[in-house]
């Protein structure tokens, strides 16, 4: 074998296992899902089935116009989760990261970091079941606390059932953003900070003129993480409320799952929802790249 041939062969051997599995399990199904969303396929055989035909974008139109407005409610809940991230977890995570990275306290930094991040590593299903008992029942800790003030209180489903879900989302992911910010703050060149100190800069000035300006790209990254994270949210809500009552705590992924696998299947609708989720992801990828480029140019 020639050297070139050998090189090409080695490349193929190294790359093919990963590429083949990835194409089969991720890339192909993505395209498959988009194609299915344009058909009336609703279970059973796919190939050689005379009842299957292309129906264009009618599933999308139905999704967007059906009178109950389920799609918009699910999308709205996704946006609420993004909102909790942007206005809750990201600022809180930033403050915690700042306190811990800047060594504003002497003792227990590693302890605090470990404990605050801990909820993130737990399986979301376990968290969902736990908080269902913790908040959402007559026999919950929440009711026990309510009863301290009003002994006759009886558990009722809240008028805004998404609120407890958002609290748990906040609980679970604040530590995640803390870790992301810490990783970035630790990369700030210590010599800049030292130079500023020698010039007599106060801690507040270091924060304002050194740390915050270097964090802008990071905050954009976190906002993107928040959106993709909200798209991924499934297990937690599935285990905590199953999307109920009456679909009020559904996010897109739960809406999709219920359409496909809950009761009477509606694959065209489910595939249309999936495609919307893919589209949002693709937009995010493009935005991420553009933002990356923008900040690289700025640095150069």
């Amino acid at each position: 074998m020639t050297t070139n041939g050998q090189k090409r062969f080695s490349y193929a051997v190294l790359v093919l296992p990963a590429v083949l599995i990835y194409l089969t399990v991720v890339a192909f199904p993505t395209i498959f899902s988009i194609i299915l969303s344009l058909t009336n396929y609703n279970g059973g055989r796919i190939f050689g089935n005379p009842d299957i035909g292309f129906v264009g974008i009618s599933s999308y139109i139905w999704m967007l116009t059906e009178p109950a407005g389920n799609f918009y409610r699910a999308l709205g809940n996704n946006m609420l989760i993004v909102g909790v991230s942007v206005f809750g977890q990201i600022p809180l995570g930033f403050i915690l990261a700042y306190i811990l990275t800047r060594k504003l306290i002497k003792r227990g930094r590693s302890f605090f970091q470990t404990m605050i991040f801990l909820p993130y590593v737990i399986s979301p299903v376990i968290i969902g079941v736990l908080f269902n008992v913790f908040i959402l029942s007559q026999h919950s800790v929440y009711m026990e606390i309510v009863k301290i003030f009003n002994p006759d209180a009886v558990f009722t489903i809240s008028k805004t059932p998404i609120a407890p879900v958002l609290v748990v989302v906040l609980w679970m992911f604040t530590g995640f953003y803390m870790i992301v910010f810490m990783a970035h703050m630790q990369r700030i060149d210590p010599s800049i900070d030292e130079a500023a100190r020698i010039d007599g800069a106060k801690e507040s000035q270091v924060l304002r003129y050194i740390i915050l300006p270097s964090m802008t790209s990071e905050i954009v990254t976190c906002a993107i993480l928040a959106i993709s994270g909200s798209l991924r949210t499934f297990d937690l809500i599935y285990a905590m409320t199953a999307g109920g009552p009456a679909g009020q705590t559904r996010v897109l992924s739960i809406f999709m799952y219920n359409a496909a696998f809950g009761g009477a299947p509606n694959y065209p609708l489910a595939n249309a929802i999936s495609t919307v989720m893919v589209l949002i992801s693709v937009v995010l990828i493009i935005v991420t790249r553009q933002v990356g480029k923008l900040f690289k140019e700025k640095d150069a």
Binding site: P29, L92, I105, V129, W171, H184, A239
Partner: protein, 284 residues
């Protein structure tokens, strides 16, 4: 002067107390529900229903643990989880390093396309491919088999793995590979004896991310298996929440013993886990 210095010293102390207060508050919020769960798991169902939910048990009852572990055979789910997480992790680490080496050090035009495909996969969500995956696994006759779960797990672990490994191998100097080539080593030998061992740091990070991810996975496990024999711990928890929900003590035990392994794992590898999470998040 003395007055001002005294004031600023007082201010510093107040600030310190405030900072500690913030951190302690967040720490308590983060771990209280978990500690509460472990304490309540020692109550009988009746004790839990009748007692104050914030109070510890009047007598510490271990019968729930016996029931869930022995009667419900919860250990089976642990064995399943260990099998899935270990096999997935080993394959993902190996394949990611192989592809990472090829993408980083072989200058073929197709690399850009292939590598780009994996990068796109990082932000794609599993839920958006659930239906086709379900149909394909069924069509392939792999529904309710270990293989039918492991193949998707590996595929879903690869984007992050390939991304991290390629990034790591890029920083390995080309001279190492060139001099080994001059000594007559084949590329595959170079991978086995030079690149793969040098990738140990990224492999550890990747292994931990992959292991915890697989250990916690729920939706595919729930969808692609029927019955109890193949289910992992989270899927079992999801399944028993309904059945055991009528018995709070037993429900709390099933949650508690599901938590213990991941907590131990976290306390041992917390540095690597946080590093892996940060590395994955800052891909940009």
């Amino acid at each position: 002067m003395g007055e001002i210095r005294k004031n600023s010293a007082v201010l510093t102390i107040i600030l310190k107390v405030l900072l500690y207060f913030i951190l302690i508050f967040f720490t308590v919020m983060a771990i209280y529900p978990i500690i509460w769960l472990f304490i309540q798991s020692f109550k009988t169902n009746q004790d839990y229903m009748l007692s104050n939910k914030l109070a510890p048990p009047s007598t510490w009852f271990v019968g729930n643990y016996q029931f869930v572990w022995i009667q419900v055979k919860f250990y089976n789910f642990f064995i399943n989880s260990v099998i899935y997480a270990t096999i997935t992790t080993v394959i993902v680490v190996l394949l990611s390093n192989m592809a990472g080496f090829a993408f980083a050090k072989f200058n073929y035009k197709i690399t850009k396309l292939l590598h780009g495909l994996f990068i796109v996969g990082i932000l794609l969500t599993l839920q958006s491919i659930l239906i086709p995956l379900f149909l394909m696994i069924n069509a392939a006759g792999l529904f309710n088999t270990r293989l039918g779960i492991l193949i998707p797990y590996v595929g879903l672990g690869l984007p992050m793995g390939v991304y991290l490994a390629t990034d790591f191998v890029r920083n390995i100097p080309d001279e190492l590979i060139e001099s080994a080539r001059i000594d007559g080593a084949s590329y595959l030998n170079i991978f086995r004896s030079i690149i793969f061992p040098m990738c140990a740091p990224v492999s550890v990070t990747l292994a931990i991310v992959s292991f915890t991810g697989t250990w916690n996975e729920f939706i595919l496990m729930n969808l692609l298996t029927a019955g109890d024999t193949l289910k992992s711990v989270p899927a079992a928890v999801g399944r028993f929440a309904g059945n055991l929900g009528s018995n709070y003590g037993r429900l709390f035990v099933s949650l508690s013993i599901s938590l213990i392994p991941i907590l131990i794992f976290y306390f041992i590898f917390r540095k690597q886990i946080t590093k892996g999470v940060a590395a994955g998040a800052v891909k940009g």
